[in-house]
C-alpha cells in the first residue's frame, strides 16, 4: 500500500469489502485487502494453531490461510462448500482469510459506525471494530490486526 493509511482512514467516507462468513456479513477496510483469490492446494501445517488451515502459494509468495469460521467459533464448512480467500498484508507477511463469499465494495459514512454491543460474544468482540446497521442487516467491521495478533498471542509461547 503506497497510500498513507492514516489519510484514507480519516476521511468521513470509507470503503469496505464485504464478505460473508456463515450467515453473517462482515466488512474489511478496503486498504487492508490487496487480493481476493480462490485458494488452491492448501498444505496443512501439522501442530499449527487450529485457526491455521495451512499454507499455500500465491504467485510465489507463501500465504498462511486463516479459517475465519474457526476463529469466530462458527460451525465449520463442509468439504466442497465454496470458499474464497481475502489476501491481506500484515507486517510484511501475507495471510489469506478464508471466507464463504466476497460481496461488493460499500462506501459508508464513518460517523454511522456504532460501537459493538457489550453483550457480543467475546471472540467476536476481540476482532471487530464496530457495526454498521445497514438497511437489510448488520455489517460487522473486522479489525485485521487484531485477528492475526490474537492468534499469534494465543499461540506463540513465551
Amino acid at each position: 500500500m503506497s497510500m498513507p493509511l492514516a489519510t484514507v482512514r480519516e476521511e468521513s467516507h470509507c470503503q469496505f469489502v464485504t464478505v460473508r462468513i456463515a450467515s453473517q456479513l462482515f466488512g474489511l477496510p478496503i486498504w487492508a485487502v490487496h487480493d481476493v483469490f480462490v485458494p488452491q492446494r492448501i498444505t496443512p501445517v501439522p501442530l499449527a494453531p487450529a485457526e491455521v488451515d495451512g499454507v499455500l502459494n500465491l504467485r510465489g509468495r507463501i500465504v498462511t490461510a486463516i479459517n475465519m469460521r474457526r476463529r469466530l467459533g462458527l460451525p465449520l464448512r463442509d468439504d466442497g462448500d465454496p470458499v474464497v480467500a481475502v489476501g491481506i498484508d500484515f507486517q510484511g507477511e501475507v495471510y489469506g482469510l478464508l471466507v464463504d463469499e466476497v460481496g461488493e465494495v460499500l462506501t459508508l459514512d464513518r460517523s454511522r459506525l456504532t460501537a459493538k454491543p457489550p453483550n457480543l460474544d467475546q471472540r467476536w468482540s476481540a476482532v471487530t471494530d464496530g457495526v454498521f446497521a445497514l438497511e437489510a442487516e448488520l455489517l460487522a467491521i473486522l479489525d485485521v490486526e487484531s485477528i492475526l495478533a490474537s492468534i499469534r498471542e494465543d499461540h506463540v509461547s513465551s
Binding site: 492446494r41 498444505t43 496443512p44 501445517v45 501439522p46 501442530l47 499449527a48 494453531p49 487450529a50 491455521v52 499454507v55 499455500l56 502459494n57 510465489g60 507463501i62 498462511t64 467459533g73 507486517q91 507477511e93 501475507v94 495471510y95 467475546q122 492475526l148 492468534i151 499469534r152 498471542e153 494465543d154 499461540h155 506463540v156 509461547s157 513465551s158
Partner: protein, 902 residues
C-alpha cells in the same frame, strides 16, 4: 542522521577494529614503522573527520592518542603501558562511536579528561626521553598537522580520489584476511611497502567482501546497502521458483517451441542466482577481526603468552551465517585461552614452548565450511568430565564407564557444564559451550571436539555456506510431502518385511539394525501427529528410513516414500506459525505446491528426550512438548540414601539438577539453611535432624526448581537412576512425607512425597491413593509449569490414570483427536498462551468435546474466579494444592474407572 555521518560511523567502526589488530602487532614489534604508520594514519583520519563533522569529544580524544603515536613515530621508546593506554583510548572511542549510532549522531555527555591527561603526560615523557632514533620520513607532513583544521581535512579529501591501492591498509586487513599469516608474529611476507604518502586512506573493508582499495581502483567496488542485496536475493529466489514452474510445464509437453528459450532462461537464472549469492559472501576473516585484540587482552589478563594463528581467513561464506558464528567463535577462543592453554610454568614442565598457540582455520569441504579452533594446551580431562557428568546426573556411573572418550568429551556441550576448578571472569561459569552448540545448530551446523590429553583440543565446526538455499530431500509421510535438509542426512535405507533391513520393536520403540548398531527410529507422521491407521497397527511393510546425524546424535526418520532431492529456496514461516519448532521454514516446489521443511534439530531433541534415560529433568524440559505422550510411558526414579540406610527415591522428572557442595558453604540463618547457588540463595531442606547435623565434607543435594526458584533437598548419597515402567507403588504409608513403597532393584524403597518437604509456597499435589492399575482412564493434563506437570503426572499415574501431559492449550489440541479419546481433561487456568477459561470455552464449542469433563486446577481461588470457571463450562474447579480434591474429582468423572476397582 545525515549520510556523511553514517558513512563516517561505518568507516570508523571498521578502522577501529583494524587499529586494534595493528596495535597488538605493534606491541610485539615496536620498531616496525609500517605498522605504526598504519595506526597513526587510521587514528588521524578519525580525528580529522571528527573536526569536520563537529564531534569535539571524539576529536580531542583521538587527537591526544595521535599525539602520543606521533612521539613513537619520532622515535620515542614504545613501552607496554603506553600501548595499553592507547588501547584504552581506542576502547573509549569505540564506545562513543557506538553511542553516536544509537543517539542519532549526537555525542554522549561525559569527559575524557582522565585519558587525555594520561595520554598527554605519556606523550610529554616520551617526547623528553625519545627523539634519539631517526624519525620516519614524513613526506606528507602529517605529524605536524595535529589539530585537524579544515585545511588539512580539505587536503585529505582532495587527495583521496587519486590514491593508489593502499598496500598498508590491505596488509592491515590482510592480517586477518590472508591465509598463513600468524597474526602475532608478522604480516604476510613482510615485503617492503610503499612510502607512507601513498597510504593515507583508511582501510575500506566493505560489506561486499573486502575491498581494500580506493583511488585508482575506486570504480571496481562500491558500497551497497545490505537491504538492497537482501531484496535482490528475494527476487532471484522468486525467479528460480518461476523458472522451476515453467520447466515443469514444458516437461509435460512432448514438443514445445518454448524448450530452447526456456533452457537459456534456465541457465541465465542459475548464473544470476550464483552471482547474487556471491554478493552476499564475505571472507570469514571479517568475523575474525576482533580476535587478535581479544587474545592479546586475555594473554595479559591470564599471564599466558599466546600466539594466535589464523589460516584461511579469505574463505568466503554467506554474511548471514557469518553474523551467527561471530559470538560462538569468540567464546571458543576465550575458552581455549582460559581452559585449554596451561600456564607458562606448566608448559615448561611439560616440555612445551612457553607460549601457547591457538589456531583458527577455515576451509571449504563439500558445500560446507569447516572451522577449526584448536590449542596446543592440556587437552580435556576425560576423568573429570566423567565424574562431573555423573555428579550432574547427565549419565549414570555405569553408563559413563562404557562410553568412549569422544562420547565423554561431548558432555562439555551440555547446559551448565563446566569443569573449571576456578571460575574466572573469562570463562568457566558453565554457560558457554552449550550456547555455542545451540547457536551453531541453529544455522544447521554441528560442532565436535577432538582432544588428546596433554596435546590440546580442537573444536571442529561444520556450517553450511548459506542459509537461503539448501539442498533437501523430499519425502512423503501420511500422503503429505516434506523437505529434510540434506546437511543432516547420512544415508537412506529401504526397509521391508523379510528383507535384510527391517524395523523391529524393542518394547514399543522402533529400531533398525544397521551395521551392528541399533538405530532408534521415529516416524515422521507420528511425530507430527498426522499418522493414519496403518501406522498405528503397524501394517506399513515397505518404507524408508532417512538416517540422520545431528551433532553427535544419530537416529532414523521413518517415512513412507523418498521422492527426490531438490535445491530449495527457504522461505520463513509466518510469525503465527513460528512457534511450531518442528519446521524451520517452507518452500515452493517446481509444481507450485508449498511444502514444509522439517527441522532436524527439533527432531533430534524429540528423539533424545523420547529415549532419555538418566538425562536431567531440566534437559527434558527444553524438549518440544510432543514427547508428553512418550514420557508418560515410563517412570524414572532417582535412588538415594538420606537419614537412614534404606534407599529412598523420588521421580527423576521432579529433579532439576543434582549438585554437590561442601558443607562449609552452607549458611545457617534463623531456622533455615541456605547455600549460594547460581548467584542467589537457595533454601535447603533435610529429611531429618540427624541429616542436618552432619556438617562435614561434601553434601549431595537434589535441586528442585519452579519458575526460577530453586530449593535443595540434602541427601547423604545418590545411588543411581533407574528406569522402569512397571514400578508398582504401594500407597500404604502412614508416615507424612512418604508417598509409599516400591520394590526397586530388588529392595524395598520408600518413595518420597516431595511436596511434604517443600515450603508451602512450593508445595503442590503429591499423595497416596490406594489404587492399582486397572482399566486406565485417560487423563489429559494441561499446565504450563513444568514443575506442576512433573509433580502431578507421577501422582496421577500412580493413582492409576493414563496421563498425557501438555505444556499448553496449543499442544492439548494436538492430542484431542487421539484414539481412544480422553476421559477427562485437567487444566491449569493461568497459562501464557491461551488461558484455561478460553480453552474450556473452545472445548464447549466443539462437537466432540462438548461434554468432556474438564477440571480447572488453579491457584486462583476467589469466589469470582470459581464462578467464572463454572460459567465458562468447567466441570469442577479445584485448588492447585488440593490433591485429595483432584483425585476425588477424577474418580467422580471417570465413573467406571478406578473408582470401581479399588
Amino acid at each position: 542522521m545525515d549520510d556523511l555521518l553514517r558513512e563516517f560511523l561505518t568507516e570508523a567502526t571498521e578502522s577501529l577494529d583494524l587499529i586494534d589488530a595493528e596495535l597488538v602487532k605493534f606491541e610485539r614489534e615496536p620498531n616496525n614503522a609500517d605498522i605504526l604508520g598504519n595506526i597513526f594514519r587510521l587514528v588521524h583520519t578519525i580525528k580529522g573527520t571528527c573536526g569536520f563533522l563537529g564531534l569535539p569529544r571524539l576529536g580531542s580524544l583521538a587527537h591526544a592518542a595521535e599525539t602520543l603515536m606521533g612521539r613513537f613515530r619520532e622515535g620515542a621508546q614504545v613501552r607496554p603501558e603506553a600501548v595499553d593506554l592507547v588501547m584504552r583510548s581506542i576502547d573509549r572511542i569505540k564506545a562513543i562511536v557506538a553511542d553516536l549510532e544509537v543517539n542519532d549522531g549526537s555525542e554522549p555527555a561525559g569527559s575524557d579528561a582522565d585519558l587525555i591527561g594520561a595520554l598527554d603526560a605519556m606523550a610529554e615523557k616520551a617526547g623528553a626521553s625519545g627523539a634519539s632514533s631517526p624519525a620516519i620520513p614524513e613526506e606528507d607532513g602529517e605529524a605536524a598537522a595535529g589539530d585537524g583544521n579544515p585545511d588539512e581535512l580539505e587536503r585529505l579529501f582532495r587527495e583521496t580520489p587519486v590514491e593508489v591501492p593502499s598496500a598498508g591498509a590491505s596488509s592491515a586487513a590482510g592480517e586477518a584476511g590472508r591465509p598463513g599469516a600468524p597474526v602475532a608474529v608478522r604480516p604476510a611476507g613482510g615485503a617492503p611497502e610503499p612510502p607512507l604518502a601513498s597510504r593515507e586512506a583508511p582501510a575500506v573493508h566493505g560489506d561486499d567482501g573486502g575491498t581494500h582499495a580506493r583511488g585508482g581502483s575506486a570504480a571496481q567496488s562500491i558500497r551497497v546497502n545490505v537491504e538492497t542485496l537482501e531484496q535482490l536475493m528475494t527476487m532471484v529466489s522468486e525467479l528460480v521458483l518461476t523458472r522451476n514452474q515453467l520447466l515443469e510445464l514444458v516437461r509435460r509437453q512432448e514438443e514445445s517451441e518454448f524448450k530452447v528459450p526456456l533452457q537459456r532462461l534456465s541457465q541465465v537464472t542459475a548464473e544470476l542466482q550464483e552471482a547474487v549469492m556471491k554478493t552476499r559472501m564475505q571472507p570469514i576473516g571479517n568475523a575474525w577481526q576482533k580476535l587478535p585484540r581479544i587474545v592479546r587482552d586475555l594473554s595479559r589478563d591470564l599471564g599466558k603468552p599466546i600466539d594466535l594463528q589464523m589460516l584461511g581467513a579469505d574463505t568466503e561464506l554467506d554474511r548471514q551465517v557469518l553474523e551467527m558464528i561471530k559470538d560462538p567463535l569468540t567464546h571458543m577462543i576465550r575458552n581455549s585461552a582460559d581452559h585449554g592453554l596451561e600456564s607458562p610454568g606448566e608448559r615448561a614442565k611439560a616440555g612445551k614452548r612457553e607460549a601457547g598457540t591457538i589456531r583458527l582455520a577455515a576451509y571449504h569441504e563439500g558445500g560446507h565450511i569447516i572451522i577449526e579452533v584448536g590449542d596446543d594446551g592440556r587437552g580435556l580431562n576425560t576423568d573429570r568430565i566423567r565424574e562431573k557428568a555423573v555428579a550432574k546426573g547427565l549419565a549414570s556411573a555405569i553408563d559413563v564407564e562404557k562410553m568412549s572418550d569422544a562420547q565423554i568429551h561431548a558432555f562439555i556441550f551440555h547446559p551448565g557444564f563446566s569443569t573449571a576448578e576456578v571460575v574466572t571472569n573469562v570463562s568457566g561459569r558453565g554457560v558457554g559451550m552449550d550456547v555455542v552448540r545451540t547457536n551453531i545448530e541453529l544455522i544447521g551446523g554441528s560442532v565436535n571436539v577432538l582432544s588428546r590429553r596433554g596435546q590440546g583440543s580442537t573444536f571442529l565446526i561444520k556450517i553450511p555456506l548459506t542459509l537461503a538455499i539448501v539442498s533437501a530431500l523430499i519425502v512423503e509421510a501420511a500422503s503429505e510431502r516434506f523437505a529434510i535438509p540434506q546437511l543432516s542426512v547420512v544415508e537412506l535405507v529401504r526397509v521391508q518385511k523379510g528383507s535384510e533391513h527391517r524395523i523391529e520393536r524393542f518394547k514399543e520403540a522402533p529400531v533398525l539394525r544397521l551395521r551392528e548398531k541399533l538405530l532408534p527410529i521415529i516416524y515422521l507422521d507420528q511425530m507430527l501427529g498426522i499418522a493414519g491407521d496403518t501406522r498405528r497397527t503397524g501394517a506399513v511393510e515397505d518404507s524408508f528410513v532417512v538416517v540422520m546425524q545431528v551433532g553427535s546424535r544419530s537416529f532414523g526418520i521413518g517415512v513412507d516414500n523418498v521422492l527426490h532431492t531438490e535445491e530449495i529456496v527457504v522461505k520463513p514461516v509466518s510469525s503465527i506459525l513460528r512457534h511450531v519448532s518442528m519446521f524451520s521454514g517452507t518452500t515452493i516446489l517446481g509444481d507450485g505446491s508449498v511444502i514444509l521443511i522439517v527441522d532436524p534439530n527439533s527432531m533430534a531433541q524429540v528423539m533424545t528426550t523420547g529415549l532419555a534415560s538418566g538425562v536431567s529433568a531440566a534437559h527434558k524440559d527444553e524438549a518440544p512438548a510432543l514427547t508428553g505422550a512418550h514420557a508418560a510411558e515410563t517412570l524414572s526414579l532417582i535412588l538415594f540414601r538420606a537419614g537412614s540406610d534404606e534407599p529412598k527415591a523420588v521421580p527423576l522428572s521432579l529433579v532439576t539438577r543434582l549438585e554437590v557442595c561442601d558443607a562449609s558453604r552452607i549458611e545457617r540463618l534463623t531456622g533455615q539453611d541456605l547455600v549460594q547457588y547460581r548467584g542467589s540463595l537457595m533454601p535447603l531442606v533435610y529429611l531429618d535432624q540427624a541429616s542436618r547435623d552432619r556438617a562435614q565434607g561434601e553434601r549431595a543435594m537434589l535441586v528442585f526448581t519452579d519458575r526460577g526458584r530453586a530449593i535443595g533437598l540434602v541427601v547423604d548419597e545418590i545411588i543411581d537412576i533407574v528406569d522402569d515402567e512397571n514400578f508398582t507403588i504401594e500407597f500404604n504409608s502412614e508416615i507424612p512425607g512418604i508417598m509409599g513403597t516400591a520394590v526397586v532393584k530388588g529392595r524395598a524403597t520408600e518413595i518420597l512425597d516431595i511436596g511434604h518437604f517443600l515450603p508451602p509456597t512450593f508445595r503442590a499435589v503429591a499423595g497416596p491413593r490406594n489404587v492399582r492399575p486397572a482399566e486406565r482412564p485417560r487423563v489429559l493434563l494441561v499446565d504450563d509449569s513444568a514443575f506442576f506437570r512433573n509433580m502431578l503426572s507421577p501422582v496421577l499415574r500412580a493413582a492409576g490414570y493414563d496421563v498425557t501431559v501438555c505444556d499448553g492449550v496449543r499442544e492439548a489440541y494436538s492430542h484431542l483427536d487421539a484414539d481412544p479419546p480422553y476421559d477427562v481433561i485437567v487444566s491449569d487456568i493461568d497459562m501464557p498462551e491461551i488461558d484455561g477459561f478460553t480453552f474450556v470455552e473452545q472445548l464447549r464449542a466443539g462437537a466432540r468435546t462438548r461434554d468432556l469433563p474438564v477440571i480447572a486446577l488453579s491457584g486462583l481461588n476467589t469466589p469470582e474466579a470459581i464462578e467464572r470457571g463454572r460459567r465458562v463450562g468447567f466441570t469442577d474447579y479445584i485448588a492447585k494444592f488440593d490433591k485429595e480434591g483432584l483425585l476425588a474429582a477424577l474418580e467422580e468423572f471417570t465413573a467406571d474407572g478406578i473408582g470401581a476397582n479399588p
